[in-house]
Structure formats: structure tokens, C-alpha cells
């Protein structure tokens, strides 16, 4: 099992929490004998998507911008499980994770197909996608959490009806509780198959 962790924590206290979550995820994965690749996105200076669609129409599958995102594209194409970690920004993902996700467009095809009663794009790679999205908040916020979980469900549809799980953790969550939550999520994802 190949696990790719996309850590979108920024270089501040929120980022330290994300780092701690990334370590817990990596530890749990290694305990299960899985291989782990971690990308600390904020340190990679990934540029934003330009919306040029060259990755569809000029050099299919590769991005026109040459930077650290190429290694993310390569790793996610071979991943069995992606784990996205980010501070929750107004219910959505923070800028560092979002910059990288926006530039996963080369991993889908330009055509339209029906998925779950809606129109979406087919996946470029056959490997079935599974992902977990872990958000952090300074304090409980029911509205932000509702939006976050809804967003993950939509992402799952756009990732070829992928198996997905999501959790929002308070920034002050104790390490043991965080480890327990991550273990539960892994087990739930394994049950989904």
C-alpha cells in the first residue's frame, strides 16, 4: 500500500498542528507495513494553476508549470491512499493544500462522463483513488465542519467516486486522541474496501 500525505499546514502554529497530524498518519501507516511519502506543500513553493489546460490539450498528463508539483503528480498517480491535511479555511481547504489540488488536473481527462447521476471527468490513471481529508480548527465550528465534510464528499465524486473519509480535529487535540482518531479512520477506510 502506497500512502501519500499532502500536508498543507502553513509556517505558523496551525502548521505545527498539521505537522503533528502528518506524523501520526505516517506512524500509523508504517505500523501497518505501508510505504509513506510526505509532501510539506507550504515549503515547496508550488505555483497556482494557470487554467491553461495545456495538461489536457498540449502535453497530456503533464503540467506546463515546472516546479515541485511534478513530484506530487507522480506520487499521487501511484498512490493507493492520499491523506490531505489542512487548516480549515471558511469550511474549505487552506491555500497550500488547495494550490496542489488545483494542479492535479493533469490526473483527469478532459472528457465528460456520468458519475453518481452527475457529469464529471474520467480519471487518467486506472488505480482506484482513496483519500482521507483531515482539517484543523482552533475551536469547534459546526458550520465550518459541515461545509468541510460536504466538500470532501464532492471531491470524492470528482475523483472517480473514490472512497473517502474526513475529520475535523481541534488544534488542541491531545496526541493520543489524535492517534486514536486516525487509527479509526484507517480501519473505516479498510472496511469500505
Amino acid at each position: 500500500m502506497n500512502v501519500v500525505i499532502l500536508n498543507g499546514g502553513p509556517g505558523d502554529a496551525r502548521g505545527a498542528v498539521c505537522q503533528s497530524i502528518a506524523e501520526s498518519v505516517a506512524d500509523e501507516s508504517r505500523r501497518r507495513g505501508w510505504s509513506v511519502t510526505v509532501f510539506d506543500l507550504d515549503q515547496m513553493a508550488i505555483k497556482p494553476c494557470r487554467g491553461c489546460f495545456a495538461c489536457w490539450l498540449k502535453h497530456p498528463g503533464t503540467c506546463a508549470i515546472q516546479d515541485g508539483q511534478e513530484s506530487v503528480l507522480r506520487a499521487t498517480a501511484a498512490a493507493d491512499l492520499q491523506v490531505w491535511i489542512t487548516p480549515v479555511a471558511f469550511g474549505g481547504y487552506g491555500p497550500a493544500l488547495k494550490r496542489s489540488l488545483d494542479r492535479l488536473i493533469p490526473s483527469i481527462l478532459p472528457f465528460f462522463i456520468r458519475v453518481g447521476g452527475e457529469v464529471h471527468h474520467p480519471q487518467r490513471y486506472e488505480r482506484r483513488r482513496r483519500f482521507l481529508a483531515l482539517g484543523t480548527l482552533p475551536a469547534p465550528d459546526a458550520e465550518a465542519e459541515r461545509i468541510f465534510h460536504g466538500l470532501v464528499r464532492r471531491n470524492a465524486l470528482n475523483f472517480g467516486n473514490a472512497s473517502a473519509g474526513s475529520a475535523v480535529l481541534e488544534e488542541r487535540t491531545a496526541k493520543a486522541a489524535m492517534d486514536g482518531r486516525i487509527k479509526e479512520m484507517f480501519e473505516s477506510l479498510e472496511e469500505q474496501g
Binding site: P48, R50, L57, H59, F90, R99, D102, L104, G150
Partner: protein
């Protein structure tokens, strides 16, 4: 449009933030400017900028904050990227929210007492509902940053507009034009975007089968033009 600032008039002010990385060529600009033009015709002073320009330098960020401080109404127009806002727009909203919450050293200059914000969001899929998480995110941003939420106009099939002026997009956008008229009238009146305008904006521009057929054919045609049709499903990282 890179950065346009407000003058010194006493008119109510509307600021357009364009969240598309395609900037001047984008459908987000077309829709945002169409609404802004109506607000200007109704007596508001209008200014606008792209998010890319606002993030280009510290000086531009200051100009963005200055314009946002002075605006009575912010209009944020953007495309759906991976089911939500494009990353640079998230970054800009975080900067604005942090400043308004006093997290950043510079506090907002005294501006209008009540500031409102509305969003225009469009996606390339036929279903307008795919935009809903992005509208929710904008609404929560408004709450966290202390703006009064003035509603949203969301539409699918943005690919059918493809950055063309609405008057050149034909009869299929008549509902869009009407929705913009109704929204502008309400906003000028100090009201929220009416539900009827949101429903009109969200109407399909054509049957789904036709949109997907034309979209798929258009993609194949462009791939052929660029000489990559045979490689369009290539897997360079397999």
C-alpha cells in the same frame, strides 16, 4: 483588468474581485463585469482587480486592502476549481479576514459602516449544484470577516460562455442576463440577490446531452489541432 481603484466621489462603491487565473480571458470576468456595469449604471462607483494582480506584490496587496476597506459592496466572481475556490482566491480571502479580525498589524481604515459581499460562481459541469460548497465557503467567509452576506449567483455550463461577452453568447444566456439585471436592481436597493435571480442564473443553458456532446467534441478537435489526439489519455506517471 489588473487593478482599478476608486476615485474620490461620494457615490456608494462596488469592488469586483476576479478569482479566475485566466483573468481578462475568463468567464468570471465577463459575468463580474456585467454585474458591475449594471451597478455603475445604477449610480455606484465601480472598481475591480484580479486576484492574481492583488497577490503580485506587497504594494498591490495594500491597494487591494484599501479598495476593500472603501467598498460598500464586494462582488467576488470566480470559477469552481476542485469543487471550491481557486487557491489564490482562498489566500486573498484569508488576508482580508485576518486584517479585518485584527490578526495582521495593519487594521482596516475607517470605511462604510456596513459592508456587503456577494459571489458569482460558475463551473464547467452542467449541474449548478456542484457550486454549492463554494457558495457555502463564501457565506462563511462573509460571516468570519464581518461582511453582510448579500447572496450568490451560481451557474453550471460555464464552458458555453467561454469568456465571450454575454451579448455575443446568443439566446442561451438570456436567463443569465435577466438574473444579472434582477440581482443588480436588488443590490442597488440594498437587498440580497433574490431567490428568483439565483434560480434563473442556475438554469441549464442547453440540454445536458448537448453540452457534454459539444464539450467532448470540442476537446477532441483542440487536441487534434495541437497534434496530441492519439496521446490524449497518456499516462506519463504510470
Amino acid at each position: 483588468m489588473s487593478i482599478q481603484m476608486f476615485g474620490r466621489s461620494d457615490k456608494k462603491k462596488a469592488l469586483l474581485l476576479i478569482g479566475s487565473p485566466r483573468g481578462a480571458k475568463s468567464t468570471s470576468r465577463v459575468l463580474g463585469e456585467a454585474l458591475l456595469g449594471r451597478l455603475e449604471a445604477g449610480g455606484m462607483e465601480a472598481a475591480g482587480m484580479t486576484v492574481a494582480a492583488a497577490l503580485q506584490s506587497t504594494e498591490n496587496q495594500h491597494r487591494m486592502h484599501k479598495a476593500a476597506d472603501a467598498a460598500d459592496l464586494l462582488v467576488v466572481s470566480f470559477p469552481l476549481y476542485a469543487d471550491q475556490l481557486p487557491a489564490p482566491l482562498v489566500q486573498v480571502l484569508e488576508l482580508i479576514a485576518d486584517r479585518r479580525k485584527g490578526t495582521l498589524p495593519a487594521s482596516p481604515a475607517a470605511g462604510p459602516g456596513t459592508q456587503r459581499i456577494m459571489a458569482i460562481v460558475q463551473c464547467g459541469f452542467p449541474e449548478t449544484r456542484q457550486n454549492l460548497p463554494a457558495v457555502d465557503i463564501m457565506r462563511l467567509f462573509a460571516k468570519e470577516a464581518g461582511f453582510e452576506w448579500a447572496g450568490a449567483l451560481a451557474m453550471g455550463m460555464g464552458g458555453a460562455v467561454a469568456g465571450r461577452p454575454l451579448e455575443k453568447a446568443g439566446g442561451m444566456v438570456r436567463h443569465v442576463v435577466k438574473a444579472l439585471d434582477m440581482a443588480a436592481e436588488a443590490l442597488l436597493d440594498g437587498r440580497e440577490v433574490p431567490a428568483e435571480a439565483a434560480a434563473l442564473m442556475g438554469r441549464r443553458l442547453m440540454p445536458t446531452w448537448l453540452y457534454t456532446f459539444m464539450g467532448n467534441r470540442g476537446m477532441k478537435r483542440m487536441a487534434k489541432k495541437h497534434g496530441v489526439l492519439e496521446r490524449i489519455a497518456a499516462r506519463p506517471y504510470a
